[in-house]
Amino acid sequence: MSDQPVLQVINLSFRYHSRPDIAIEQISFDLQPGEMLLVAGASGCGKTTLARCINGLIPRSYHGDRSGSVLVKGREVSQMSLVEVAQQVGTLLQDPERQIVSSYVVGEIAFGLENLGLPREEIYRRMDEVFDRLNLNHLRERETFTLSGGEKQKVALAGVLVMRPAVLLLDEPLASLDPASAHEAIQIFRSLADEGTAIILIEHRVEDALQARPDRLLYMENGRMCYLGAVDTFPKELNYHAVKLPAPWVVQRVMQEKKPSLMTVLPQPANPQAEKLVSFKNVSFAYGDGPEVLHNINLDIRQGDLIAVLGPNGAGKSTLVKHAIGLLKPTRGEVLIKGVDSREQSVAQIARSIGYVFQSPTHMLFAPTVREEVAFGPENLKFDKQDIQRNVTESLSVVNLVGMEGYPPLGLSFGQQKRTTIAAVLAMRSEIMVLDEPTAGQDYANYTRFMDMLCRAQDGEGRSLLTANFKATLFITHDLDLAVTYANRILLISEGRLVADGSPESVLRDFTLLESCRVRPTSLLRMNLELLPKTGHFLPAEALAPYFSDAYSKSNHSISAGL
């Protein structure tokens, strides 16, 4: 690293004209070529605003009061032209689906260079370099719409790198990737830094981001810097409720603070003799004349099941679940819902038994008020008026949205929107709840709050929202820790096949199997497996602290071994 910083942020503050509160305040740091800075913090901490100040979207596209300065190679960003900034600061947005503007890979990668008006020979030369650098030659002729999530992100990254930026700004680049793709992306980021690119990695999944071996960490809360420094030790300023930290760090902090752990309801073990609610019998499925995407699936969903469906993108998880709710009917075999073949039931009829909460609330929210939104399902199912009214009131009370009945759902915060979607399914009085990626699109603080709302004990009998209202729950997820913490049964899907079905303790101990299904073991899983003889079942990180003996706890090294 040279001594000349490529980026200097000096006493930077910003307030959006549209909002009363200041978004970021007195931020200062600098970045050397080849240095990687991890910026972490919960939603609303100011990470995105900081990024917009660095890449010039503030003040060009977002207006407000800005003070302090952002210097790239000694020049103030707000005074540089769009063309100049674009060549110095490359930004990879959170969702590559929205970053990609061209129908073809080649067009996408060339886009920025075309906009700079470079000669064609130069564009081709630079594209060849970046195709080789990121090993993308096999994607050269592809349409961008057909790429997988990981491929899309590599293409989006190539479209940024081809402009040869001195600073690379990565805004939650892991959010839309499955763990294996996220791991590959992290390796690429590290090697780019090693080659001299200065990188700002914005990520609330600190545990994953640490694998990129960032040189420094900037931790933000409420628009302010709380910590700026090394990451080799666990800084006390970090709030383990706000960002996702490695399990050993959480345990260490809980032991230091001597606080009681959160009262999350531990799932009761699944009972293989319990009442069958849904049965898959030799189910295979293909879209039209296309290749088979599900192969001979056999399983029963029983009362009391809390199932996590794990597997990489494109493995067939959603296709499997859509069979349970009748959106898809098997090409071979049968799906029995309460003993009746799904082919003999309409989706509306099945909806009385199974409620499905889609990943993004904006895909389903439409009504002018929360009350009408929640009443939509029961009205479609022709419940009588009194029942609808009662169901709506009860459901809103369960998800803690009382008082918001008259609000427009689309005007609520993301977390409230998610809760509205849960209420919408609760009001249909379905017996089984299906959640597709319940934590997607939320930061760590919000998603743990959301999962706690679903799984925390609510009544005197220690039942949670899910166990009190549904006979079984099934959630599709990429987040292995979610499966470790909240499930009592794991379905592992790979290439359209059910490769494992059992308790978390039995399925998740086989690392070879997990890795063959592109599921990456986490520090929480490792720690849980290590402690399983003492605990008997998997626990959240905070609940593991009491299981460490004094001697064990004194040795940070031993705890860190789980990393």
Binding site: V83, L93, V101, S102, G117, L118, A348, F358, A424
Partner: protein, 295 residues
């Protein structure tokens, strides 16, 4: 999937042409058979023949275009065909003021009013209907193959090279990029609402009522598109879109065959214009038609 592009590479003369040449040719032919007011079947027939030959040279599979053709033929037959046949509307004066033999006459009273609808098919109007349909099919045969035979990735550069601005031209490319995304969002929303007991089949009633019943689909898809749109704008700004005159990586080259093809279009247009100036091209009914329809 809801939206798929039917374009695929084919080793045909049509697809070897520069899209600018094809669009220019199409514009000339459409102008030649509409704007010049030529109604003489002897002049229109060769153009119709050229258009059909080009259509078959494109070698598009029938199952791909079946729906488009059925739609167009039904449209032409019922709307334009009947209109021309019964009233001669849309045609030259000689058809409107036609006093040829009546083949068929029908007078239908309008209930509760003293008026009647008089439908009179004459020899002249029957042939006029035929000519009118021929003109429409000539244009349809040129237009229908476009989405099947022009690579979606070159619409933007085609329009740029034809003089449109960078921004307008790239809008074409963006549309092709995001229509499949819109289609996918629509399918997800459809599934999400069906899982809440919503049935599209139950969307009945008047326009307002239908729109209300469609809101569960239309609102989420629109919201999603708006949210996406904002990020796409950021993504484009961050890569300097619109900051200066852009290079279009894809190059288009007019070759000799493209010039010949455009020349053919221009010749057709010039012939029609000249014919009109010299007083030819009026509506004409061949003698055999009188014998054929039995008068």
């Amino acid at each position: 999937m809801l939206v798929t592009w039917k374009y695929r590479p084919r080793d045909t003369f049509i697809q070897s042409l520069d899209p600018r040449a094809r669009l220019t040719f199409m514009a000339c032919v459409i102008l030649a058979i509409t704007a010049t007011d030529v109604w003489d079947a002897r002049l229109l027939l060769p153009v119709f023949a050229i258009s059909m030959v080009l259509y078959f040279m494109a070698r598009i599979e029938w199952r791909d275009v079946r729906r488009a053709w059925i739609f167009i033929l039904v449209f032409i037959l019922f709307i334009i065909g009947l209109n021309a046949l019964l009233g001669g509307r849309g045609g030259p004066l000689s058809v409107l003021q036609d006093d040829s033999s009546v083949l068929y006459a029908l007078s239908i009273p309008i209930p509760l009013t003293p008026w009647r609808i008089n439908l009179t098919v004459t020899v002249v109007r029957s042939f006029f209907a035929l000519v009118q349909m021929m003109r429409m099919i000539t244009m349809a045969a040129l237009a229908i193959p476009i989405p099947y035979t022009i690579d979606p990735s070159i619409y933007g550069v085609t329009f740029r090279r034809m003089g449109a601005s960078d921004k307008l031209s790239f809008t074409m490319d963006l549309a092709f990029r995001f229509v499949p995304t819109l289609g996918r969002d629509f399918m997800i929303t459809m599934d999400a609402q069906r899982a809440r007991g919503y049935e599209l089949e139950s969307v009945r009633g008047g326009l307002i009522q239908r729109l209300r019943r469609l809101a569960p689909l239309l609102v989420p898809v629109t919201m999603q598109a708006i949210v996406n749109g904002e990020e796409v704008i950021d993504a484009m700004d961050l890569r300097a879109f619109g900051a200066r005159r852009r290079t279009w990586l894809r190059e288009l080259h007019l070759r000799q065959r493209d010039y010949w093809f455009m020349a053919l279009g221009v010749i057709i247009l010039v012939i029609m214009m000249t014919a009109r100036i010299l007083g030819y091209g009026e509506f004409w009914v061949p003698g055999f038609w009188y014998r054929l329809v039995g008068t």
